[in-house]
């Protein structure tokens, strides 16, 4: 017994180890993810780096992040939300300051919130609670609750409209409503897109707008793409509709709410499933992640369902993800000269004139670089990171 106590006491010393002081500086936030052998849970990390020169990074001094949702970066603030996983119940806030990231506090979310997105308007932060049909409002300086918006009345099929990714334009908050029923996809028979509009001055809902003509559903990607609703330089809002992750046989792609409008632009619908891709024989079933780059150009990753193995899909080997240049104006798709990836690598971020794609390819995994000016694409991953590549964010980018 004494022997065991000895082991115990020696091992207890580990608990007192003070964390090492972080000494990394940079203006790029890099995240990574590692699934556990159980295939359900996993871990994710974020760290700052200072350039995109070819390098390999480990996670030794990286901070734990959310396994479900990559860090949400708003200006210099970084928010971590639990997403659909239950590996955490807190909303954490960090700030990028002097090249480092500092913890600014946390807020304990309601049980099983499924919080997937955060947007801010001044000191107010809106948090979409995907599982609860609510939008939480907190002061993100004090991390205290201001209020919450119960939007259950806008649910279709059930009393939860599944608020997902949001965007603030002027004084209005636009919320993508996934309208999932009984699982993680909307009713296949309802190809409609719902967006809720909230007045951020009164924090009252203004109205829900519905598109019934595009043949799409599920506006915004609830996990993993906080940019799936974005605004261009003209203040036009574009919404990436993922239509049940491309498995409902519906159309998918972009819808638009023009500047100054609070209704869908009936003249605009961009169905990517029926658009020929320059450089590929198949069209994407949906766009996994999007990054607006200005001048109507979007860089995106698209999923090609035809590339899943038949009859049984192989999610760890099927390279179904392609990298795309999307022209919102001409409604065209062009495949970039980058290798195909599994669904474990699908991110896209911007670094000046370059687009950075996080891919898991046949030859390697990491962040590939595409130069939007020259059209040159790296042939291998330039930034390699331990685990699968998560998101790439360069602080200070316009989009």
């Amino acid at each position: 017994m004494i022997g065991l106590l000895g082991i115990s006491l020696l091992s207890c010393d580990n608990d007192d180890d003070a964390p090492e002081v972080k000494d990394e500086f940079g203006d790029i936030l890099l995240s990574s993810m590692l699934p556990n052998p159980d295939g359900v849970s996993g871990s994710a990390y974020m760290q700052v780096i200072n350039n995109i020169d070819a390098a390999e990074y480990d996670n030794h001094k990286a901070l734990p992040s959310s396994y479900s949702v990559p860090p949400i970066v708003i200006g210099n603030d970084i928010f971590i939300v639990p997403g659909w996983s239950n590996q955490s119940s807190t909303l954490e806030k960090y700030t990028w300051n002097n090249g480092q990231i500092e913890n600014k506090g946390e807020y304990e979310l309601p049980s099983n919130s499924g919080a997937v997105d955060v947007v801010t308007k001044g000191d107010k932060a809106y948090v979409s609670l995907n599982f609860l049909g609510k939008i939480l409002i907190i002061n993100h300086q004090t991390m205290e609750k201001i209020g919450e918006l119960d939007i259950s009345e806008y649910g279709v099929g059930d009393n939860n409209p599944d608020p997902a990714i949001m965007l603030v334009r002027d004084k209005l908050l636009y919320v993508g409503l996934n309208q999932m029923v009984g699982g993680y996809a909307p009713d296949p028979a309802r190809a409609k897109v719902d967006i809720l509009i909230v007045d951020t001055e009164t924090d009252q809902t203004v109205k829900m707008i519905t598109d019934s003509t595009s043949g799409m559903s599920m506006p915004t990607k609830p996990e993993a793409d906080s940019k799936s609703i974005f605004m261009d330089e003209n203040k036009d809002i574009y919404i990436n509709c993922i239509s049940g992750f491309g498995f409902l046989g519906q159309k998918s792609g972009f819808l638009r709410i023009k500047a100054g409008e609070t209704d869908f632009d009936k003249s605009y619908s961009f169905d990517v499933t029926q658009t020929n891709v320059e450089g590929d024989e198949f069209s994407p079933a949906y766009l996994l992640k999007v990054q607006y780059a200005g001048n109507d150009k979007v860089y995106a990753t698209g999923n090609i369902n035809e590339r899943y193995s038949v009859p049984e899909p192989n999610y760890v080997e099927d390279r179904t993800v392609i990298c795309l240049e999307v022209d919102l104006k001409t409604k065209s798709l062009k495949k970039l000269n980058l290798p195909g990836s599994t669904n474990y690598g699908m991110s896209v971020g911007s670094y000046k004139d370059k687009m950075i794609f996080g891919l898991v390819t046949e030859q390697d995994a990491g962040f590939y670089v595409y130069d939007t000016k020259t059209g040159e694409a790296s042939t291998t991953a330039v930034l390699k990171i331990a685990g699968y590549p998560g998101d790439f964010t360069h602080f200070g980018e316009k989009y």
């Binding site: 017994m1 065991l4 106590l5 115990s8 006491l9 091992s11 207890c12 964390p19 090492e20 590692l34 556990n36 052998p37 295939g39 359900v40 849970s41 996993g42 871990s43 990390y45 030794h60 001094k61 990286a62 901070l63 734990p64 590996q87 119940s89 309601p110 049980s111 099983n112 609860l132 049909g133 279709v156 099929g157 059930d158 009393n159 939860n160 999932m180 029923v181 009984g182 699982g183 993680y184 009713d187 296949p188 028979a189 049940g244 498995f247 046989g249 009859p311 049984e312 899909p313 192989n314 999610y315 760890v316 080997e317 898991v360 046949e362 030859q363 390697d364 995994a365 331990a386 685990g387």
Partner: protein, 784 residues
Amino acid sequence: MTREVFRNILLVILLLVTPFAVMAQTQISGKVVDAKNNKPIAGENVIIKELQKGTITNDDGEYSIIVPHGTYTILFLSMNYKTVEKRIICNKDKVEVSAALEKSVKQLKEVAVIAKSEARQLRENAMPISVITMDELQGTVSNINDVLAKTSGITIRSTGGVGSASRISVRGLEGKRIGFYIDESPMNENSDFVDINDIPVDLIDRIEIYKGIVPPKFGGSAIGGAVNIVLKEYPPQYMDASYSLQSFNTHKVTGVFKRNKNRIEAGLGGFYTYSDNDYKMRVPKRKEEVTRDHDQYKKFVLGGGVKSYKWWFDEIEIEPAILFSSKEIQGIEEFNIRNAESKSNAFVLTLLADKTNFLMEGLDLDLDNSYSYSVYKLTDTARYRHGWAGEITEAVTDNGIGLGEIGQHPNTVNNKRHVFYQKTNLNYVFDAINSLNFNSSFSYSKGLPSDTLKDAVLGYKTNFKSTMKSWTAGLTHEYNSKNKKLTNAASLKYYYYSMQTRLIELTDINRIPEDIDNTKNDYGLSNAMRYRFIPDFLIKASASYDVRLPSDTELLGDGFIIAPAGNLDPERSTAFNIGAMYDKTNAQLNRVQIEINGFYQYLENMIRFTGGPLQSIYQNFGKMRSLGAEAEVKTDATNWLYLWGNITYQNLRDMRKHEPGSKQKNTTYKDRMPNIPYLFANIGIELHRQNLLGGKGQNTRLFGDCAFVEEYFYDFQQSIYQENRIPQSVTFNAGLEHSLKNQSIFLSLQANNITDERVISEFNRPLPGRNFGVKIRYVWKREK
């Protein structure tokens, strides 16, 4: 470690070392010789039948064994000699019993059968095995998990209190890789309604834990090892009844009755368990400290048996059993669940028969046939979801259907299942040296799942009936050298399985299911040997190249969110074990057992769950290597003090070099596999004394044990800031057992987790803190 914990530890130690006087015991000793030439017989089994306790003779044919006062049957058993049985009365300090044995080949089979029923013989066979007799631990434990958790190489991951799911890990492998058997009949197929922890300890004779290699005679496939629960063989007339009351309003009642007449025996046994499991817990990742209040568990099992020795078979037995259980579902993380619950009912009919000299001299036949029909129900239809901070959310469809509290859709699961199992074992003894064993295990299961409410909410059918057939055939040759120093068992196994079900392709917008039909086969090899250098010391070595068949869950999925994976290959394991065992009873009659084992296992084609955008599937893509060692010491330090301890270190590493289908190196190559303890140890102490409180026929035993598990990571270890760790734990348990009227009445007290250590399983499953139990048991038996 806090001062309070130290104080508690000191208290425990003081309590445990309270001096005890010498109990009233008898030393039985003697010499065993060949009746013809009077030469001593070494390695002879000497067994006290009533105590199931034994020893072996030394090179001079001498033995000695200590027993409590009483009347016993002593058996002298040997491969080459006729068995001799003597009745002895032990009411003095020393009794001498010697025997002269006559040679006989015929006794071989009897020896083999009896030897297998003896813990020590099992420990000394060629397989890597731990055997725990309930005599060793009875009184300190309230369930099988408590027993297993004290064994080297074993960890138990419970998810809660009584009736909660638990996973047994043998040398780091767990779940479907570990076989679970009751009296050598596989129970993995019946996991819907039988959990290893259900079986009351009073009904158990011993637990055998096979590590790395599972004997083919058990049937099935289990590359990680197997736990075989051996139920007691009762005397012809017997009654055993017990009641225990434990913390958290837990009640356990057990009863067994047996009678015989005209060579027909009839028995009835069963148990009832009830628990509120209302212990306090801190909600993982949250601040709330709550009392679990929706975790009630009830289980009732009644089984009977009629055994005849009259008909053509040596023994033929029919055993019907019924099982009913219900369990409320306790919210842990998602919600404070108020309504969801599960129920399972089952009916099982078993027919067992055996026949020696079947068709020819030397050929033995064992038959095990069973049929089970089970119904598993999960009801989760609540309209309201309760958060941990008291918040209430309504979750309901437009049609007014509550969406339940678990997951995103409601459930009215009503899964029916028919399982037929047939095992045939043929053992042929060529001579005293060679024997051959053939085993055939066939299993057919038909699943009829239903979840009408889920289908109604989703708008299409999501569960489909399935059938699965599997057949395992094993051939084992056993060699025992003439001088009994070398034993070797070489085995060959053949596996066949097929499955039929239906699948909805998510890309099919019409949701029309497709038929899935797949068939596969594979094989496995193993060899185990033991060499006894001297009667007290032996070494073991074994190797296996074997497979674990995919389970029905992995193959069949759920027809919708988890897609069937008909192309799934079995997991392939290459394993080695080498060990040494020293077992010595010295002149002062103190016994010392020391066993050390080293093991290596390489696992390929690991079956892992992989998630896609909407649908998930099981795939083969993992590789893992485990390298470890375990040591165990047991000793009668004095004739009133027994000490034991074990320690296990297992180094499990991810050996996948590259990402599947890619040149990309695997980031976690050679990293420690997460969520598996790698260093753990147990120690225990037992003090015993007869008639401590005066009177006659009384025995008192005081136990204490301590378990240590080093901190380990839930995820792959990556960052110095990593948070998901399962903290180091040191827990103390103590027990007191007092028996009256020559072990007819037992009274016991237990205290678990005495220092109220906060113990968490799976990083987010809080386990009970300090808890207590009292038990009374009455045993009546008549040997005739």
